[in-house]
């Protein structure tokens, strides 16, 4: 290990010196500009990989090392990656997320889900209730102590509480999968955490739509809960799942009958799903006045789940994804780090830290109760909360959606959510790795 460090440190040093040198070259053409984006993305990839190895000494997981690297390279610290660059690399980000969703689906084994179904359901219900109740109560009753919420009317404070409560329930399947993959973890605890995280990712969309409707009622004071909204929502979810299943069947057919260039094929599938679902939403809205939002992540998860559970090609599928997973995880999480809004954290860090703490207490209460009711080992019950802290993209997306719909409270919501996610995304992977080691499921694969 120390011998390896002797090469990691000089390599990182040389990489940084080289990057500073390239960065000092005057950019005078679009060709150079594009080159600088390529250089920066590769620099982040290699620097995050080296940092991951160096920080491993301190038991810090690769995901966190990548996020740290992203933060340092990002617009708020060194400015090596500007906001524009991060925006331009968004497509790679989307592509990586689709890949990760394919892996998430593939990681879910129907047999284990059946076995752990009760534990997963209990965890989902109890964690959702506990987190929502505690965060909502905190915002409504203690929110006035914080500058950001002080000037809001009671109705606006309640609405903010509802929306923050629901967003607090959201988690990050991508981080969870990356940590499980890095630790090569396997076992009932891992399966439960993964199952809860992935199922929650689907349920959060329904919960959030419900929260938006209730917020609209509170803020506008008129109208009622529209059945149409829920019919469309369920149609979207059902269509996404069905489409994913069909694509999954197609993928397994491809593996069965063709079998080669699978990584390229999966790249094509992930890209196709992301672009087509965006295009379809736009198309149906423009031509038929129907906003049909197919969720690319859900489609990919469903496709991965179908290949894993309804074909004999699950092993080849996962092996092929595994082979290219490391660069994708490293790049994705480094860009996620660079996108973290440190300005928002600086603005409202007391409120953000309080919410992080309240959320953690909610998760602890819910998971401990669920584990106890299910008679899981006490060690699992005491530590399960550490596996549910990570938060990322979905929560940001939900906050931005709410901001568009309720501009009067949206800005506050967005700022707080970004700050909370920044903290959770930094500490979440570390706690998850720690708990996997504690329950003895790391390295069992």
């Amino acid at each position: 290990m120390h011998k390896n460090l002797m090469t990691y440190f000089p390599a990182l040093f040389l990489l940084i010196v080289f990057a500073l040198w390239v960065k000092s070259v005057a950019i005078q053409s679009s060709w150079q500009g594009a080159g600088l984006i390529n250089f920066s993305s590769a620099f982040v990839l290699l620097a995050a990989y080296l940092s991951g190895h160096i920080l491993r000494l301190a038991q810090i997981p690769l995901v966190s090392a990548c996020i740290f690297t992203g933060i340092i390279a990002g617009p708020y610290i060194s400015g090596f990656l500007t906001s524009d660059m991060v925006g331009q690399l968004r497509l790679i980000d989307d592509l990586a997320l689709s890949f990760i969703a394919l892996t998430a689906g593939g990681e879910l084994h129907l047999q284990s889900l059946r076995k752990r179904g009760a534990a997963i359901a209990l965890n989902i219900v109890l964690i959702t209730l506990a987190v929502f109740a505690l965060v909502f109560a905190f915002v409504v009753f203690a929110g006035k102590e914080f500058q950001l919420i002080q000037n809001l009317s009671p109705a606006q404070t309640i609405s903010l509480g509802i929306l923050l409560g629901v967003v607090a329930v959201a988690r990050s399947p991508s981080s969870a999968i990356a940590i499980i993959s890095e630790c090569r973890a396997s076992g009932p605890f891992t399966e439960t955490v993964l199952g809860v995280t992935i199922v929650m990712d689907v349920l959060i969309i329904i919960l959030f739509t419900l929260a938006l409707t209730v917020t609209r009622l509170i803020l506008a004071g008129a109208g009622g809960i529209s059945q149409y909204t829920f019919v469309v929502l369920f149609a979207e979810l059902a269509t996404s799942l069905l489409l994913g299943a069909l694509i999954g069947k197609g993928v397994s057919f491809y593996i069965d009958r063709v079998g080669y260039d699978l990584s390229l094929f999966l790249l094509f599938i992930a890209f196709g799903i992301t672009k087509t679902s965006l295009w379809l939403s736009h198309f149906t809205e423009e031509h038929f006045d129907i906003y049909l939002h197919l969720e690319p992540l859900l489609i990919c998860m469903s496709a991965g789940f179908t290949v894993q559970n309804f074909s004999k090609k699950g092993f080849e599928f996962m092996e092929s994804l595994d082979r290219i997973a490391l660069p994708i995880y490293v790049l994705f999480f480094s860009l996620a780090g660079a996108s973290l809004n440190l300005e928002a954290l600086r603005m409202c860090w007391p409120l953000a830290l309080s919410l992080v703490l309240i959320r953690a207490i909610g998760i602890f209460t819910g998971s401990w109760l669920a584990g106890t009711l299910h008679r899981d080992p006490a060690l699992h019950n005491r530590n399960a909360w550490m596996g549910y802290l990570t938060q990322a993209g979905v929560a940001i997306g939900l906050a931005q959606l709410a901001q568009r719909q309720f501009p009067e409270i949206g800005e506050h919501l967005n700022t707080v959510v970004l700050a909370v996610i920044s903290v959770n995304q930094i500490i979440g992977p570390v706690t998850f790795k720690t708990v996997l080691n504690k329950v003895g499921e790391a390295g069992k694969r």
Partner: protein
């Protein structure tokens, strides 16, 4: 419904049918297709059409924003091809080839390059009003594209034919592996003298950058890595080198070739890296075709001119290759044993030619480059569809030559 929307849906349907047919072929590829159809598929020409369909002229799925977002992927493709070509130049491996073979390969590439350069330069001088430097740059690029050879035809030969013509095929393989050296070197140097970059180019700085990169990668590769880590390093290497090259006004393809040459001779991990590079050679080639398809532009007004241009390019290139083959078969007594029509077996255009074209397009975003790409791609299609016939002719003549030898 607006016309453009209708067209998008129509081509979407076409794309699905096309993919279904491709899938069908891949699925049932053990069934013997006619040779024409087999060549069509095995040279990956279908991916060129896929790129054209996905591009702005038809479906616009890969629009300007998407193309910009996919810049790192393009850089990766160019870097990958450059690294792979650089890995052909491992000294220990090159020493295993006879000296005649090596000199024949380099000579063939140089002759074909000069032949094509002169022809294209004259054509550009006669028909286009370009500046002197631009003419040289364009002629160098197109001559480099024309001078490189692929091994597609050799891969298609039946097993008995491979056994019967082992020696000739060994020479052809050696030539097609190495003959891109002179064209790529010239292209790389010409890139530096592009009219766009000339003012800010600093050769000393570029060379220093190249050596800095090699030192950095050597540090990365000093220890044994897991395969997934090595994949990450290779991807990082290719994109970092491409990015550095672009910032310093250098050709990404050439810079990666240089890095590949150094790594293959310095690193203990060379075999594992080569295996990673070669494992996705075909997908990389196919993606380059897709990207070129996306970037090329076919205008109805210029269709006949482009068609004529591509036929002329194809014919001139074939003549250059045939002449090059003839010349090297007279280089030494050893090489006189081989058929004089050696150039017939060197007509295929492959990954390196296309990568040069893609590199050129990224470095020289003038309006005419997309037309030039369209023209050259048509030439690639003609060339790859006819080259197998010429290869068979060569092998038949080689049999006759063997039977008449004392």
């Amino acid at each position: 419904m607006r016309y453009t929307e209708f067209m998008k849906i129509f081509f979407g349907l076409l794309l699905i049918l096309f993919l279904a047919f491709s899938g069908y072929h891949l699925t049932f590829r053990r069934f013997r297709l006619p040779l024409f159809a087999r060549r069509f598929y095995l040279t990956g020409i279908e991916f060129l059409f896929l790129g054209i369909l996905l591009g702005p002229q038809f479906l616009n799925i890969v629009d300007e924003d998407t193309r910009r977002g996919l810049e790192p992927l393009t850089a990766l493709l160019l870097g990958w091809t450059g690294l792979l070509f650089g890995f052909q130049f491992e000294m220990a491996r090159l020493r295993r080839f006879a000296f005649e073979f090596l000199s024949a390969a380099i000579m063939e590439g140089a002759i074909a390059f000069v032949w094509n350069f002169l022809g294209i330069y004259c054509a550009l001088s006669l028909f286009f009003s370009l500046t002197g430097l631009m003419k040289i740059m364009l002629a160098t690029t197109l001559a480099s594209v024309a001078a490189c050879t692929a091994q597609t035809g050799l891969a298609l030969l039946p097993r008995d034919s491979v056994t019967r013509h082992r020696d000739t095929l060994k020479l052809l393989t050696c030539i097609s592996n190495i003959n891109g050296l002179i064209p790529l070197l010239t292209f790389g140097v010409a890139f530096l003298f592009s009219p766009r970059f000339l003012i800010t180019t600093n050769i000393g700085r570029d060379i220093m950058g190249g050596f800095g990169l090699v030192l950095l990668y050597t540090l990365f590769l000093t220890r044994h890595r897991k395969e997934s880590e090595l994949i990450l390093i290779v991807i990082g290497m290719a994109v970092l080198t491409s990015g550095t090259a672009s910032v310093l006004h250098f050709s990404p393809l050439f810079a990666n070739f240089f890095v590949g040459c150094c790594i293959v001779n310095l690193s203990n991990e060379k075999d594992r890296i080569f295996n990673i590079l070669i494992s996705v050679e075909k997908p990389v080639y196919l993606l380059i075709l897709v990207f070129l398809g996306v970037n090329c532009h076919f205008s109805i007004d210029l269709a006949s001119a482009l068609m004529l241009g591509s036929v002329c390019f194809c014919l001139w290139r074939s003549l250059g290759k045939i002449f090059g083959g003839f010349a090297i078969s007279h280089l030494s007594r050893e090489l006189k044993r081989y058929p004089h029509r050696l150039g017939f077996g060197l007509l295929d255009m492959g990954g390196l030619s296309l990568a040069i074209l893609l590199d050129f397009h990224h470095g020289f975003l003038y309006e005419m480059t997309s037309h030039i790409i369209g023209m050259i791609l048509m030439a690639v299609v003609f060339n790859n569809l006819t080259s197998y016939y010429f290869l068979r002719q060569l092998l038949n003549s080689s049999l006759k030559q063997q039977s008449t030898m004392p």
